[in-house]
Symmetry: C2
């Protein structure tokens, strides 16, 4: 079995890509075969790994338009798959993916295409991380339909809390219609200022909300605030410009420590199941 | 004449709302009649001023659906206008505005509605700041069509640079089709870490790009990096939860100093024209 995680939050700039890339790299670094899926037309995860979205061919976009079918037709995901680091594969985005939301809007099984693309790849990869775009549109819905769990990167700020209701409502709808086993397993605190009272208050807010929900029949009943939080660290903002993960760019810096520890906690939790 | 500024950036979480609110408050504080327009269905600017988007009636949304017409029909903007502080008016968002993009998609002059709403208000307000949503959709296009200048809040990070091309392309298109006098007048550096080499390099990148464009026939030929940059300051993330501007919540803190100085620079520039 594989652990398939959608890194999702419709709010922009909260750390989805930074988390997808560096968590994937952390998992690969401890020997777990990991697949990173760049589901965002911005192509930031692809760029972050040093791949140029302008020259990717074929890409995840091509697969979404022509996914593998039971009949054997459709593109083979292995053609788009890039083995970019030891233990780390990438399904890259290319610049045309901006058209996907529109072009997929009235095709068959439009929410299930990514699930079909990933099915054969689950035999190769133990962990799959899906970097979602900052929206609740068709691409994100594909991410949620293909995943088994959702992790929500967010900042511990008041305004960041405002979108959480809508996010959970979307996860619930996807769970009801196309993916009954979908769970929210964690909140990942990104760009975290552990020293401010404001952050602590917002985190307390999140924790008490999750405690209240733990006895209800909701997809986030088992969710927790992930440990550790990811501290703000300029190295994490620098390494994308070099096409590197934080482990390559600045091993041992706080960003590498935090994502490394978070990756290890995901592995330990998985092995214990 | 009035200075009508769209605070625009399709990237999420870059400081559009924090800038719209605190710059508007800074202008009002030095005695300039200022209007804050909450064009974002998230309603964060409205909340930030202590107004509940769930109970606003009528709202900017109602005006967009039924704007004032030459015939005298349509809603009166003064009905939706809220005088929320000395010298500071608000055209508030309400929760239904999420439907606006869809409902406006095939009406007459769908990009020009905000311009018609603002026209009578320019007799009352010297400065108008329009808080745009994180998208390039119909609401943002209304903001760009109604404005005379665009200011772009952004973070001095590599990944933040990636969306700038698309942003400028959109401003150019709006300029060509509906608003020939639209200019990009400034880049506002938000959440700025002045002490890191990475931020300095990105700012140098931006400055040299603007210098190269200064002789071209493009809408950003006159744009500059605004001074001062707005430093990261937790007070700016805290005050929205109290429905206060930073000047009310923590006068004298770095966030108040920076937005106060930026407001003063906009006033000085305007008075000198
Ligand atoms: N812990 C951190 N410390 C410092 N900078 C960070 C950190 N995490 C992310 N960043 C920077 O913050 C910005 C936003 O992060 P990121 O791109 O990962 O967010 P996102 O949610 O994927 O954004 P989008 O919604 O546009 O896809 C980027 O410039 C990134 O380099
Ligand atoms: N200078 C700053 N220092 C600290 N926190 C800040 C600063 N500027 C903004 N923030 C915080 O960062 C987050 C994003 O800011 P803001 O909401 O203003 O961005 P935005 O571009 O309007 O986002 P959206 O795209 O969702 O509308 C908020 O939680 C805000 O309180
Ligand atoms: Mg991203
Ligand atoms: Mg905003």
């Amino acid at each position: 079995a594989s652990r398939v995680i959608a890194l999702m939050n419709q709010k922009g700039g909260v750390g989805k890509t930074t988390t997808s890339v560096n968590l994937a790299a952390g998992l690969a670094a401890v020997g777990r075969p990991t697949l990173l899926v760049d589901l965002d037309p911005q192509g930031h995860a692809t760029m972050h790994m040093g791949v140029d979205p302008g020259s990717v061919d074929p890409s995840l976009y091509d697969l979404l338009l022509d996914p593998p079918a039971a009949s054997g037709e459709g593109l083979d995901p292995l053609d788009a798959l890039m083995c970019i680091r030891p233990n780390l594969g990438l399904l890259p985005c290319n610049v045309d993916m901006a058209a996907a939301e529109h072009e997929l809007s009235d095709v068959d099984e439009r929410q299930l295409r990514l699930r079909r693309i990933l099915a054969p790849l689950l035999e190769i990869y133990e962990f799959v991380l899906i970097d979602c775009p900052p929206s609740l549109g068709l691409l994100t819905l594909n991410g949620l339909a293909a995943a088994r769990e959702v992790m929500v990167p967010m900042q511990a700020h008041f305004l960041a809390l405002q979108g959480v209701g809508k996010l959970l409502e979307t996860v619930t709808l996807v769970g009801q219609h196309v993916n009954p086993s979908l769970r929210v397993s964690g909140i990942i605190l990104c760009m975290h200022d552990e020293n401010t009272r404001h952050s602590r208050e917002v985190v307390d807010d999140i924790r008490s909300f999750l405690e209240d929900s733990s006895e209800q029949d909701v997809p986030w009943a088992g969710a927790r605030v992930c440990d550790p939080a990811i501290r703000r660290n300029i190295k994490l903002a620098e390494c994308p410009s070099f096409g590197q993960t934080v482990f390559e760019y600045a091993p041992g810096c706080p960003g590498a420590q935090d994502y490394g520890a978070l990756a290890q906690s995901l592995v330990d939790e998985w092995d214990a199941m």
